[in-house]
Symmetry: C2
Subunit: 656 residues, 2 copies
């Protein structure tokens, strides 16, 4: 590859990016303009890719953590002739329905490796992909690929990047090469407004190999990438670049970051690059150069290698699909009473760890508390990636991002922490939901049942928050049987993330639960034909609700009790079933030791809610349940008062 060809190729990348942003009148031209030289050298000489087979297993992974620079990717895809990225898509950049949205969006068939935009997430995903790569390498050198991750100043300021980098250094992930587009500019201006640290120094401290180069010097870029191939540690290359390179007054200015260049500076850019073609017209000779970058020889070599793999190896490289036998074995678990659902979950996780080689369990330093570590777990370490358990450390944010990377690579990550710390994981959980990744969050200590640790450790609003994340499937089972039902559903449908909200405290089972009904999201535990009262509950409050039913029944009320174990699944049922469960009687009650918002969807404006819309307190959990009125006697009395009140239930419509 001649440098003059690379220079030509980089020009096309720049022009296409700038023109697309200009046409869209929206987007981020500065990053592609600044990073085009590094990227073109990478694509030309190192990056293993084949546009005919975008998800080729042996490809190098290309993660744009600085997702706002999406036009860099799209221009690359177009120039290299990836399917789905013709010139019309480039012209339709950021338009509804295009394959070129504002930030790169993952789906399982496009060349986009992961959805990025929220800064730092791509970095964490890359660490997950690198762990996955190491695990595949244990099985076959057909997994001898690299993960290239492009980050900007913003990515590195985010704490998640630090967390992920710390893990990468700890695990010596030498298949990971992070390219830092160091242009010293962020949206607000020069980075010196907010940061003074020496990134190289920091990354060295984290156990990385580091290097700083001129990101516009083709030899330096080539040498650095060459050097990076053989590192024994993860590699961090700081590439000093000029944001908006060549774009007149906007070069080296935050003005080129997130807005079209405008005609004047776009013209300056074209002049600077000696570009005389029409917008969106790339001369054939440059297209030929780009098309020559595909690594056809590596592809063929890989195919030859792949043909020699054993059936078992090939099976392992495929995306996880849980074995039916695993689910059968889970279903055969004996029922039990008086068990915390975190313990029920731990029994199931044992079966998964024993039987599913692609399940990767892990925890943010709460392995035992949340029950994700068991005798079938083997710790993944820098010296041995054959294991199935990751000690994420106290890094929930990175855990979520790394889990996403693992899931994208076909593994089945199961990560655990306390439900209250979902706050630290939310950015990654949201992206898992957006990408429809099959991950399971084991989130225990799911209410004031936490007890003495107090309000900082007691979730209140978290169930509401997570239930409202589109595509995140919530479960809050009440006993071992429902926990089995929840896992059974999740393991059979690994095309979305799952939340398992589990109790710390022991729960006396109602003995009325039904494993098979869990997949409907809600079902009748106690059913009457014309009930006076319908009570909705779940999790650790279901037995309380059951006691309330008994008290009301003793007063000759007819009561239906519903286990609403998954809001997400229930709302996906057909109208008839939802109607049947909700019923037509007036008196609706909900009981959950958490905030009320989601329940009004079922109990309506006038339903009685027993739960917690304030923060919790530190104390024995039994005392807390009393303090917050979550006892059968108290709830029973209030329901009775309301139902026998002179005003009819219907007239009560003032309690919203």
């Amino acid at each position: 590859m001649q440098n003059n060809e690379i220079i030509k190729a980089a020009r096309a990348l720049r022009i296409l990016s700038a023109c697309a942003v200009e046409k869209a009148q929206s987007g981020h031209p500065g990053m592609p303009l600044g990073f085009a030289d590094v990227f073109t050298v990478l694509a030309a000489k190192y990056l293993k890719f084949n546009p005919q087979d975008p998800r080729w297993f042996g490809r190098d992974r290309l993660v744009l953590s600085a997702g706002h620079g999406s036009m860099l990717l799209y221009a690359f895809y177009y120039l290299s002739r990836f399917k789905g990225f013709d010139i019309e898509q480039i012209k339709n950049f950021r338009r509804l329905g295009s394959s070129t949205p504002g930030h790169p969006e993952y789906d399982a068939i496009s060349p986009v490796e992961t959805t990025t935009g929220p800064l730092g997430q791509g970095f964490a995903n890359s660490v997950g992909m690198a762990i996955a790569g190491k695990k595949y390498l244990e099985k076959t050198d057909a997994a001898n690929y690299k993960i290239y991750c492009i980050v900007g100043d913003g990515c590195l300021m985010e704490g998640i990047s630090y967390e992920a980098a710390s893990i990468a250094g700890h695990l010596k992930l030498n298949n990971l090469i992070v390219l830092f587009d160091s242009n010293s500019i962020t949206i607000d201006g020069p980075t010196s407004l907010a940061i003074s640290e020496n990134q190289l120094f920091k990354f060295q401290g984290l156990g990385w190999s580091t290097l700083c180069i001129d990101g516009h010097n083709l030899e330096e870029i080539d040498d650095a990438l060459n050097w990076a191939q053989k590192s024994e540690r993860p590699v961090f290359i700081e590439c000093k670049t000029t944001i908006g390179y060549g774009a007149g007054d906007k070069a080296a200015s935050c003005k080129s970051h997130g807005a079209p260049l405008g005609k004047k500076d776009l013209d300056e850019l074209k002049k600077f690059l000696n570009w005389e073609h029409e917008d969106f017209v790339i001369p054939e000779d440059i297209l030929d150069i780009w098309r020559s970058f595909a690594k056809n020889k590596a592809y063929e070599e890989w195919q030859a290698k792949f043909k020699k793999l054993t059936k078992d190896q090939i099976e392992y490289l495929k995306p996880i699909k849980v074995h039916p036998q695993t689910i059968d074995q889970i279903k055969k678990l004996e029922t039990t009473d008086g068990e915390a659902t975190r313990v029920s979950s731990s029994k199931i996780l044992e079966i998964i760890a024993q039987n599913e080689p692609k399940a990767i369990l892990g925890s943010a330093d709460l392995s035992t508390s949340v029950g994700v570590y068991n005798k079938y777990c083997k710790i993944i370490s820098k010296d041995d990636f054959d294991g199935n358990f990751i000690h994420y450390g106290i890094r929930e944010n990175a855990m979520a991002g790394i889990m996403n990377g693992l899931a994208i690579e076909g593994f089945f990550p199961i990560g655990g922490t306390f439900l209250v710390f979902s706050d630290y994981m939310k950015p990654g959980m949201r992206l898992a939901s957006l990408m429809k990744l099959g991950v399971i969050y084991i989130m225990t200590h799911d209410s004031i049942g936490v007890g003495q640790d107090g309000p900082t450790h007691q979730p209140v609003e978290h169930l509401t928050a997570l239930r409202s994340v589109p595509g995140l499937c919530d479960f809050r089972p009440s006993d071992r049987l429902e926990t089995i039902g929840a896992f059974e559903h999740a393991l059979s449908n690994l095309a979305q993330p799952y939340l398992m909200a589990l109790s710390r405290q022991n729960i006396k089972s109602t003995v009325l639960t039904k494993e098979q009904e869990v997949k409907k999201g809600a079902y009748c535990i106690i059913k009457n034909h014309h009930p006076d009262i319908t009570i909705f509950s779940n999790g650790s409050e279901l037995p309380i609700a059951s006691e309330v039913c008994k008290l009301l029944e003793a007063d000759n009320f007819k009561v239906n009790l519903i286990s609403l174990v998954s809001f997400n699944l229930f709302l996906q049922q057909d109208r008839g079933y939802i109607q049947e469960i909700i019923g037509t009687n007036e008196i609706k009650v909900a009981i959950e030791a958490a905030s009320s918002y989601p329940w009004h969807r079922f109990i309506g404006r006038d339903g009685l809610f027993f739960g917690i819309d304030t923060f919790g307190l530190s104390g024995a959990y039994e005392d807390l349940y009393k303090h917050f009125g979550l006892t059968p006697q108290n709830i029973y009395k209030k329901i009775k008062y309301e139902s026998r009140n002179q005003r009819t239930w219907k007239d009560r419509k003032t309690s919203a």
Copy 2:
């Protein structure tokens, strides 16, 4: 102070901590046992405190970021005779109603400086307190105090600590001394399971002064603390300690981290410490030693200094109270139409920045987009703390934590980012709510109105999530007048945090909004006596709702239109008002470009909701509103269909 006195004093700290955890049968003895030596030297020789005046302005701030070690604080408070911490409270450790909850809980009068527990938060709070200290120092050397922050391995693994440390280094906060309880143990076992980095190396890279000492060697501790007083940078002292020091088999083991020692190892501890007193009985001579640690001389000197301060200086040291003139000036802002509410907010923030010297504006690198930076802002830098604006960098998590520290110190922080990135800030926002801190979150780009940036940047579930945080007051105003009303309320009641959810896109005002009504949370925009239909809406969807009303009115429907601008405030109104607003008619509709959950509290199970329960898309926002059916015509048609349907509205009860 003799070392033998310090040794005696430390013993009492250890025994009291271990006994309290033992009695509670819950808690974390390992940390106090390991850190008692460092802490006792600190308390004896450096920490400026006066138990008679726990919130003395001139005191050194003592932040236990490793909040699980709370008994260390409580034992100190008891031994030093702080009010509210008698021996009964120590015996009632972790019991409901005690002043000694599981994790330290802030209130404005207790010696606890901040609520900690979620790891890393205290570190970020300390950085905020240090910035506050620097600002006070600009006014008077009566603020010549230090912030001591005690962190553990877990705190440092959390990304928020890195973010906060990076800012502290950038601002050269030499009034901040971080003491790292480096015991190389976390809950799961040795830290080597999850981390290999060199913390000193990293902190040096971040611009800190660093030192590593033996945390059980009194001379080394003393020398280090002495050295730390004169640093020109923030100080990081790694104190190598033994967790559970002296507790038999549990010493140096994760078994001492989070569970009582048990009789055997508690006895071992007593033997090890030559402790022969009854539990909870501290001999007078040791109490006398502890009582001698109070810095009475420094207190008196400070009082003398304080007496010489000018009225202005004294005023400045007091907690923020917004001047009535500022609010008046905001109220006098002209109304306008067709403005994005982020722009309305920016006009108000100009007035605040100009008039309120204790307001500290800032942004996570979106200063202009979110409208928090204006001509009255002066950037706070390492060389000049006189300013009122912090460039937090792309560090939302730390921003929230630093804002909390500023608020605790009596400043009025206003921090801005996109609403979708509240995900990164949530841990700190939750603690602000728990501590009832007066902070304002300016969160713009509050819906699919974001447009082209796509689903990663479009909040959907975030309003639901934040509305359900206890004590966080939400506002989503629809025009400049309502934005004024929202700020007016917030500025008059700075005893809780506020969310301002603001639009990116311009909004055509309904012209019917009322500034004075905003404080009720909801009010009638259009009111009929016996309406057929009630429509609830807010923010950028209010004008759409208003158009819907016009279309329905043209069909002779009587329609009430409610601006539900704050769920939190509306739910605090009296029953009568809530009833009046909701009304008794059957047909309830809500329109908000966000998830549905919170609205059912008002529209009930059978209400019609127009919003978004899926992720957004990348495209022009006008196209997105069409795509998601959020146009007046579409909504009008659906309401009409439902209301004229053969089935009566009431029979429709199947649409939950």
